[in-house]
Amino acid sequence: MSFDHILKAIFSALFLANILRISTPLILPALGGLVTDLAGATNIALEGIMLVAAFTGVVVSAYTKSVTAGILCGILSGVLISALLAYFYLYLKTDVFLAGIAINIMATGGTIFLLYILTGDKGNSSKLASGMAPIVHIPLIKDIPFLGTVLSGHNIFTYAAFLLTWLVAIFLYRTPLGTHLRAAGENPEAAATLGIDVKQTQLIAFLMSGFLASLGGLNLSMAYLTLFQREMTAGRGFIALAAVYLGGRKPWGTLIAAMIFGFADALSNQLASLEIPSQLVQSIPYVVTIIALVVYALQKRAQLIERTRRFQERELAKSGGGATGS
């Protein structure tokens, strides 16, 4: 395929729709990472939570023949795993990174272990007839030529991702609990002196994070694919964390950052048809993530310098005013 074809493919409606599809399992856990990050703790167990939810969803939907039951149990399992992490971190004083690593290891091992027991196969769950999350065709929009292909016909998780970004933004900036949560993360001592129960607030953040990451995991096993594969999250939980930083720790910023990763991923799929070795192309999203970390760091530094400069100017103006006054 020539370069021309690639360019055409990139600007096609299908490609844009593909970005939405690939971004969804990044947006949802990234929102989860955002909530805990703002509450003052890095949840590196997003990966494990996603994996457990993906697995539970597939298994429950296969045995109950109900997609709804699968999704609900998947969410429940992810929230429970997140609660376990929160318990060890908040109440048993385990280092949050080490506890998170342990949870990830347990999720990887546990899902393969159970998969083998249930199906006799360690690779994937293709022997289980698991359910698929419904696909939404938006009336009216679906008939618009270009826009219809891009916006309509996705699974419910994709729409949930955008809706939840909006809800998380409202929660964080327009509700008392959201404000408390950010205060607990910004300065726990100050928050505590104001009467905020920091531990409880952080616990809530972890539960929400578990909920959001679970949806990301379910999206992988019940919509993106319709089976469970061992280690199917493939580092998405960590890329999601990077998206939080790249997005400037803001809900919509996080969503956009996650979509940039989705774009890089979709692009690498397209470029794979060129005569470039696929290994090098596949590493694009990971290189982009590292660049994103650097960009975020530089941004933060620039902000700090700007803030210091403004502060100095203000102080100078004040002292200057004082001098003329006397």
């Binding site: 385990t94 290891i105 091992g109 272990f113 083998y116 360690k122 580092g235 960590f238 990971y286 590292i290």
Partner: protein
């Protein structure tokens, strides 16, 4: 009673006890899991616990695996001691395996030059692959967990690319290199002396325990001296204990952080060379599979102390080798050891568990004493 108290008051003893109890609890839990899922649980668990010493080649597997784990454990200990959560050992190992393997295959030097060159190159590339996240962390405050994990995947892609497009013999249907020539292999750890010829032959035929065993011992000593007997080690530990204090104390924390990551990478790179030139003696796809985070559990069990790393590495290597035997001998899959591993990490690192247990015990004792007093009081009244 008082002597027991005195012994318990020694910190090292308490630490040891705590780790021992954590491993024991994890093993009991593992047994309960086996009971629940297996048709022949006793057989399965016996294979798990006794497997590694049941046959000579399995004993070899255990020691080989432990060498890798100990090198990884040293790498993680150095980083974690400085509270730098580098998870990049997998990538460093892959790069180490790739570079040392390529030298072992293609550089036309005699054995005495080729092997040292390959090992040095593996250490150097580990250093570089650690330097990158170290620099990002020190100068840009980039989250090291994310950056090291991304570098792991990038290393994997680079490894695959070179293996498939450059190293694999043309026309081969599988993704692996040829076996290394004799000049590029690590020799068996026993020298060819006449009076141990039989033993040497046995080890050479059934195991891949190589001179890496001695290099590992040197690595342990070096890591110990580095951490406890050099200015760098002091700086490393101070940064880990309290980075603000370290900065006020005049330590160049940025330099220390970068060096911590990079030096940690040297050990992981060496582990990669061990995989390529010692265990597999060829480059294969997914050469580090299943080893990614294993250094972490070793380091945590050793409380980030290089002197305890060999004990933890041997113990954990034993569990892993046992899990392999169990999988082959029974209907329980080896991933159970991952669950056990996670439980060990959680139990060892949960600061509050031991004090909580102590609290429960003292509360019980007080309650018992209180009850005794009560009954005494009642007796008096009567």
């Amino acid at each position: 009673m008082s002597t027991i108290r005195k012994i318990l008051a020694i910190r090292a003893v308490r630490e040891f006890l705590r780790i021992f109890l954590a491993v024991f609890a994890a093993l009991v839990l593992g047994f309960l899991i086996t009971l629940a899922v297996s048709k022949q649980p006793i057989e399965a668990y016996k294979a798990f616990l006794l497997g590694p010493v049941s046959r000579f080649n399995r004993f070899g597997d255990w020691i080989e695996e432990s060498i890798t784990l100990i090198l990884l454990g040293l790498a993680v200990s150095l980083a974690f001691r400085a509270k730098q959560f580098s998870l990049g050992q997998d990538g460093q190992m892959l790069m180490g395996a790739l570079v040392s393997g390529s030298i072992a295959l293609f550089v036309p030097l005699p054995f005495l030059l080729r092997v040292p060159l390959a090992l040095l190159a593996a250490m150097l590339v580990g250093f570089i692959w650690g330097y990158i996240p170290g620099y990002l962390k020190a100068h840009l405050d980039a989250n090291e967990i994310v950056s090291t994990l991304m570098l792991n995947t990038i290393a994997l892609k680079i490894y695959d690319y070179f293996l498939i497009f450059w190293i694999k013999p043309p026309g081969a249907g599988y993704n692996a290199s040829d076996f290394f020539p004799v000049e590029g292999k690590l020799p068996t750890f026993l020298p060819a002396l006449p009076f141990i010829a039989d033993l040497q032959k046995r080890f050479a035929d059934h195991t891949n325990i190589t001179i890496m065993l001695y290099l590992m011992i040197i690595a342990i000593v070096v890591a110990f001296f580095l951490m406890f007997r050099t200015p760098f080690g002091y700086e490393l530990r101070t940064v880990g204990a309290n980075i603000k204090f370290a900065r006020y104390g005049g330590i160049d924390t940025k330099k220390t952080i970068i060096l911590v990551f990079a030096v940690s990478g040297i050990f992981a790179g060496l582990a990669g060379a061990h995989l390529a030139m010692g265990i597999h003696t060829k480059l294969i796809a997914n050469i580090t599979v299943g080893l990614g985070f294993e250094g972490i559990v070793v380091a945590i069990m050793a409380r980030n102390n290089p002197l305890f790393v060999p004990i933890a590495g041997l113990a954990y290597g034993y569990l892993r080798a046992g899990a392999d035997v169990m999988e082959r001998a029974s209907d329980v899959s080896r991933e159970m050891v991952l669950v056990i591993q996670a439980i060990i990490i959680l139990l060892v690192t949960a600061e509050r568990i031991l004090p909580m247990v102590q609290q429960v015990i003292t509360a019980r004792r007080q309650a018992a004493a209180g009850a005794a007093e009560m009954t005494e009081g009642e007796n008096n009244v009567v």
